[in-house]
């Protein structure tokens, strides 16, 4: 018969342990500051031309990912929450990209 994965992962009140120490939070903040500073520095590299888009995208996705994984502690939580959030996020990106393509944005 069908297996039942969800019922095996029974743990309750898991939101107060397995969180990192404040020092980790501080390191994460420093990484965010560094990435933001890098964004602003890269901004003045005019010679990058259109290459700025992937560079900036990588930096922003990096910041985004760090906040979601550490500050919003998805890295330490049940995977289901990641799936829930990512399905909304990915669908949003795909649909809006397609919409922009229909408006000739990438031509």
């Amino acid at each position: 018969m069908v297996s039942n994965k969800n019922n095996k992962t029974k743990k309750s009140g898991s939101h107060d342990h397995n969180h990192p120490e404040p020092i980790t939070y501080f390191k994460v903040a420093m990484a965010l500051v560094a990435l933001t500073a890098l964004e602003v520095v890269v901004f003045y590299f005019e010679w990058l031309g259109y290459a700025i888009i992937p560079v900036m995208a990588i930096l922003s996705i990096g910041k985004f990912g760090i906040v979601v994984m550490y500050y919003m502690h998805l890295k330490f939580d049940e995977k289901l929450l990641t799936y829930v959030f990512m399905s909304g996020l990915i669908l949003a990106v795909v649909v809006i990209m397609w919409l922009m393509a229909l408006f000739g944005w990438f031509n």
């Binding site: 009140g13 898991s14 903040a29 901004f43 985004f64 500050y71 959030f85 990512m86 949003a92």
Partner: protein, 198 residues
């Protein structure tokens, strides 16, 4: 009602994440509208004319730091250090309010100095709507945190056992922060990057 859930995840936490997934779609539509209208309509005044990247970098920095302050508040609450929790809460609220102050300053600068209103052109319309909606989200976050802070002072209803109450507000707060990360790059930096061939 039993407290055990089928998956072991607290109901409210799951609700919050479903909401955030849904909110992705909300902001994606707004950002999509902004991008679709970028460079169309009346171009007499646009991002290059009004944005001041150093100022906005500072306000972005403040919002990032408020996220750090938020996780500290949460970490101290979990460790039942209520006083440290209150200090970090105040600092988070002040930084959130500072970010809003920057936004008010920015809007009034654009409006009075550059004569850019939502009625001026499509850039004005989409810019004010997108950043204004984000600002409203920040305002809701500040009010939410302020109510929790008030509860901790006068209602004694905030403690390590009820840390989930704060965790939910914190998730919302960080989400508002990551939306700003996207807006900062897409609207501000791409909007004024001098290297794009014209």
């Amino acid at each position: 009602m039993s407290d055990e859930t089928t998956t072991g995840i607290d109901n409210r936490k799951l609700l919050m994440w479903v909401f955030l997934g849904s909110d992705c779609m909300f902001f994606a539509s707004l950002i999509g509208t902004y991008l679709i209208y970028k460079g169309t309509g009346n171009l007499d005044i646009g991002p290059v004319d009004v944005f001041d990247i150093p100022t906005t970098s500072v306000s972005t920095f403040v919002l990032l730091m408020s996220s750090m302050s938020m996780v500290f508040a949460y970490a101290y609450l979990v460790r039942n250090n209520i006083n440290a929790f209150r200090i970090w809460m105040v600092s988070t609220i002040i930084m959130g309010a500072t970010f809003l102050g920057f936004q008010v300053f920015e809007f009034s600068e654009f409006y009075f100095h550059y004569d850019l209103s939502p009625q001026t052109n499509l850039f004005g319309t989409t810019f004010y709507a997108l950043t204004g909606t984000h600002g409203l989200h920040v305002t809701v976050g500040v009010v939410w945190l302020a109510i929790i802070f008030y509860s901790s002072l006068f209602r004694n209803s905030v403690s390590a056992e009820t840390n989930l109450d704060l965790d939910l507000a914190a998730l919302y707060w960080h989400f508002v922060d990551i939306v700003w990360i996207v807006i900062f790059a897409v609207v501000y930096l791409f909007g004024t990057f001098p290297g794009f061939p014209s």
